[in-house]
């Protein structure tokens, strides 16, 4: 079994034990972050390091706030790679982040149909050619 990417207890410790509040936060996360990951993919695919850095920065903050440290670290690494205009590294890190993000969405979501499926992996992979 893959190691959990989401520390539910840590989130509960920060946000309180009210299940309704936790549900609300998770739903907000699922509403907002997939769009941001897609924006990040688009920025990486078109070699827009400036935009990629800004989105990765925002994602790093959100992942860490949601007690998803591995995703937070990956987003932070991508932010640094983008700041250094290291686009190859950005692509590699995006693919890693995209995979982790799909896993974490499946982990936190109650609705299997609502799972995140990256539509941008192909574009990012193609941009490496």
């Amino acid at each position: 079994m893959a190691h959990s990417l989401f520390d539910r207890n840590a989130l509960a410790e920060r946000m309180g034990n009210d299940p309704a509040t936790q549900r609300e936060i998770i739903e907000l996360f699922l509403d907002i972050q997939p769009q941001k990951v897609n924006e990040l993919a688009q920025a990486v695919a078109r070699d827009d390091a400036l935009h990629a850095r800004a989105i990765a920065h925002s994602l790093a903050g959100a992942f860490r706030s949601m007690a998803m440290p591995k995703l937070g670290d990956t987003a932070k690494a991508l932010e640094r790679a983008a700041a250094g205009a290291d686009l190859d590294e950005c692509r590699t890190l995006f693919l890693e982040l995209d995979e982790l993000f799909a896993r974490v969405c499946a982990e936190v979501s109650d609705d299997p149909d609502a799972r995140y499926h990256s539509g941008m992996r192909v574009e990012v992979l193609q941009s490496t050619i």
């Binding site: 309180g16 609300e24 936060i25 907002i32 925002s58 903050g61 706030s65 007690a67």
Partner: protein, 399 residues
Amino acid sequence: MNGSQSPIFIVDDDPLQRRMASVMLRDLGYPDAAEAGDGAEALVYIRANEDAPMLTLCDLEMPGMDGVEFLCQLGTEHPGSTVALLSSMDRSLIAAVETMAQSHGLRVIGAMQKPATREFLRECLDRASGSERAVPKAPAPREFSVEDLRQALAAHQFIPFLQPKIDLKTGALKGAEALMRWRHPELGLIPPARFIPLAEATGMIVEMTWTMLESAMALIAQWQGRGLELVVSVNITVSFLEELAIIENVTSMAHRHGIPPASVILELTESMASTDLVAVVANLVRLRMRGFGLSIDDFGTGYASMQQLSRIPFSELKVDRSFVAGAVREPHMRAILESSVQLGKRLGLVTIAEGVENEEELSMVRTVGCDAAQGYYFAKPMDPESFFKWAECWAVEQV
């Protein structure tokens, strides 16, 4: 942006981060935090309300107007507003913005790398609610003219307020800094920020400094007569040091009051100590030769090089308050504080920590080896009679 005026204001571009902060604040007893998605939106909210919020939690990197620009604007429109910084940026960058915000007149009561914790927010709320509630929109201050300054000088309205300096080894009162205040007959006590820039720009500061020096020396003599031996510091400017007869005049003033030159310290800010004027440096050397103390003020905020420190014979180094406050939270600020104190010690200077406001900061400046400290933790600046009474009580408490 939501809601009518709320005591807490969250400025962050990420709705998730805003919501998480909002939930934690709700659990801490503040259920209706207002929110804005960037600096521009935040300013619209603040401008639409009479008072600035009790506490503004501000992210730094946001699309549109970022946190840095927002804080500059907030400092201009609502000086004294209370803010806490929350960001995913590196700690050193957050600390730099904290210092910048303070220099824009904001009261920064916390800074943290995201994610925010309940404890951090609780501490910020305690600090914010423990001081002023909402900061009222400042009425347009009256502009003063040079003539106002002249009349005030002639009417002896510029008076020294004294803030104690405490020896950190013995706890004894070591001296005091004389800070200029304007006791206006109609407007009451006017803080220096309202008139010193004009005085400096017009050259009036020279005459005003002579007045302060005269008052400070008179107080030293008076206190000596009442059994209180103290060293008093007076702030001086480069223009004052350019006075032709400064050495003879300062020396004869001390002689006239019957006090030793060593009981007077002249404080020069670090940026002014960076001057290259040969005559100014020569006068500083001569003042020191006559026995007056020389202090480099606000150390760490200006551009003084090691060369400046070696060519001006300072006797005292005052580490700027921003490092004292920052050192408690930020390892790199602590490193700067420690290095400044070590540098001062290696140069044989007495080291003073400025702006000590609480026990945590006091413990920090003790740990890094400062010789003395001043700040609100001990006492605010006071008029001379209140200061004397305070000194008597302090001496009794230390026995």
